[in-house]
């Protein structure tokens, strides 16, 4: 039986004025994969993510998620963790959980409440009085409490100290819907490369490496080593 692609991108290009940010990008992803989206700052990762999440619409090429162009349907099956904190500061965890439960049919309210307790967050504390770390935990738990078909995580360890990274990684791995796909953008490759099935490396808006991690390991290389090789050469 032919497996439906969860992501299917063909000849995707995007410019900001005269600056070409994505240049003829093509790739597809099967359900169940964990994909690392890697590249230096400004290489086009966030633009690609914004297109996949429906935040940017003016591009050329074809983008399909679960066979649909980014829109209302794809937003209902994609759980997106932006790099920035995004919840209104008047909300408390209990409000944020109610909000997600209201808008996303795949949101598991019980799981979210359990994670709030597990992560030591006060359900009645206003977000504006939380530390940045607490806010990031809350954002993450809301995303992984969804039984989404595709999780897009943009730098999930951006503001997290090294000691907490493995805990957060475990949290993601223990709680995401197992038959779904994760597309994770990060520059902290060493900490997370063990979970990747596949890596995409982007430079100057082009996919320059698209490889399964097993293939790299068979060649006796780690993802981080390949990354350093590629980008020392490319930049």
């Amino acid at each position: 039986m032919k497996m439906e692609k969860i992501i299917n991108i063909s000849s995707l290009s995007k410019s900001y004025g005269s600056k070409q940010v994505l240049n003829n990008v093509s790739f597809s992803a099967n359900p169940g994969q964990i994909i690392g989206l890697l590249g230096p700052n400004g290489c086009g990762k966030t633009t690609l993510i914004k297109i996949l999440t429906g935040l940017i619409k003016d591009y050329t090429g074809t983008v399909k998620i679960d066979n649909e162009e980014p829109g209302v349907y794809t937003k209902s099956i994609v759980a997106y963790l932006p790099e920035k904190t995004f919840l209104p500061d008047w909300m408390r965890p209990v409000d944020a959980i109610a909000y997600y439960a209201d808008f996303y049919k795949d949101f598991d309210k019980n799981k979210a409440n359990e994670l709030v307790a597990k992560l030591g967050l006060d359900p009645k504390q206003r977000i504006k009085t939380m530390s940045k770390g607490q806010q990031e935990k809350l954002n993450l738990l809301l995303i992984i409490s969804r039984n989404a078909k595709l999780y897009i995580l943009d730098e999930p360890f951006g503001g997290v100290d090294p000691a907490s990274r493995s805990k957060i990684l475990d949290l993601i791995m223990d709680n995401y819907a197992k038959d779904s796909t994760i597309l994770m953008s990060t520059h902290l490759i060493y900490d997370v490369e063990k979970i990747f099935d596949r890596v995409l490396m982007i430079s100057h808006g082009k996919v320059i490496v698209d490889s399964h991690v097993d293939e790299l390991r068979e060649k006796g290389k780690t993802v981080e080593e390949v990354f350093k090789e590629v980008f020392t050469y490319a930049w």
């Binding site: 900001y16 003016d58 349907y73 937003k75 920035k84 995004f86 909000y99 808008f103 996303y104």
Partner: protein
């Protein structure tokens, strides 16, 4: 989904205006106590404060309409709002409805405040409400007023014009904020927001003035009737008063056009920083 959007829109925007409404309530209670205790100096100060609170409520509501629109769509919260599984048109529609609700509420509040102040003033002057009404009846003013049906017609027309004005404000504001948050202009969104608002509003208002006086569409109030006539406002010499509505209709249509354009920009061109 629209119902859920409205629920959170009201929750979010209520934070901005709730303080001013709470102030109005507190001052009103204070004034009532002062009136009952016959503390003239306190009720005079209360009237003044209440009037200022009423004006502030309208002003704060207008500011909150702008602030709430920007915060929920174009600040970091935009990452949440624009990735909800809803259409941009639903997002926009929910914001328009809630803005209407708050603006109308603030106008009603100001009307009530003016009523309370008038009541207080009549008490201060040792005149009962019925006494004031007697004076009005004796003056013959009521006989000069058209029938209740005519008054209702006039109120209805004025209410429609007021709604068109609210639509105009909301349409121009939403368009300006949205356009100033497209990639080309978002380095200075506040500056461009102001320039776009005053630029578009200035041009549209100049046309509005022209149409108000020259377009043959006006509300005429005579001693016997209130009607919309196809004559310009200065051609009916027998009218007690006339006011052109062509300009208001034009502004309403422009605002509607701008809202549709805003929805399109939200869908295609907005860039969340």
């Amino acid at each position: 989904m629209l119902g859920k959007l409205l629920k959170y829109e009201i929750k979010h925007s209520a934070r901005y205006v709730s303080i001013i409404y709470a102030c109005a309530g507190a001052v009103t209670v204070l004034m009532l106590i002062a009136m009952l205790a016959k503390m003239t100096w306190l009720s005079v100060i209360g009237s003044l404060v209440l009037y200022l609170v009423g004006i502030a409520a309208v002003f704060m509501t207008l500011v909150s309409v702008i602030r709430n629109f920007y915060d929920t769509l174009y600040s970091r919260q935009g990452y949440l709002t624009f990735t909800l599984p809803v259409k941009s048109s639903q997002l926009l529609f929910s914001k328009v409805i809630v803005s209407f609700f708050w603006i109308i509420l603030s106008c009603i509040l100001l009307g009530l405040i003016i009523g309370i102040i008038a009541l207080n003033a009549s008490r201060q002057a040792d005149a009962s409400l019925t006494g004031v009404l007697d004076v009005i009846k004796e003056s013959g003013i009521l006989e000069m007023l058209p029938s209740k049906w005519m008054v209702a017609k006039l109120v209805f027309i004025l209410a429609v014009v007021a709604l068109l004005n609210i639509l105009t404000f909301v349409g121009f504001v939403y368009f300006s904020v949205t356009l100033s948050n497209t990639r080309a202009l978002q380095k200075h969104p506040k500056l461009f927001g102001f320039l776009i608002f005053f630029g578009t509003y200035g041009v549209a208002n100049a046309i509005n003035m022209k149409l108000t006086y020259s377009l043959p569409l006006a509300v005429h109030v005579t001693s016997e009737n209130v009607y919309i006539g196809f004559e310009s406002m200065d051609t009916m010499s027998e009218s007690l008063t006339s006011f052109g509505i062509g300009g208001a209709i034009f502004m309403g249509l422009v605002a509607l056009g701008l809202l549709i354009l805003t929805g399109w920009i939200m869908e295609r061109k907005v860039n969340i920083k």
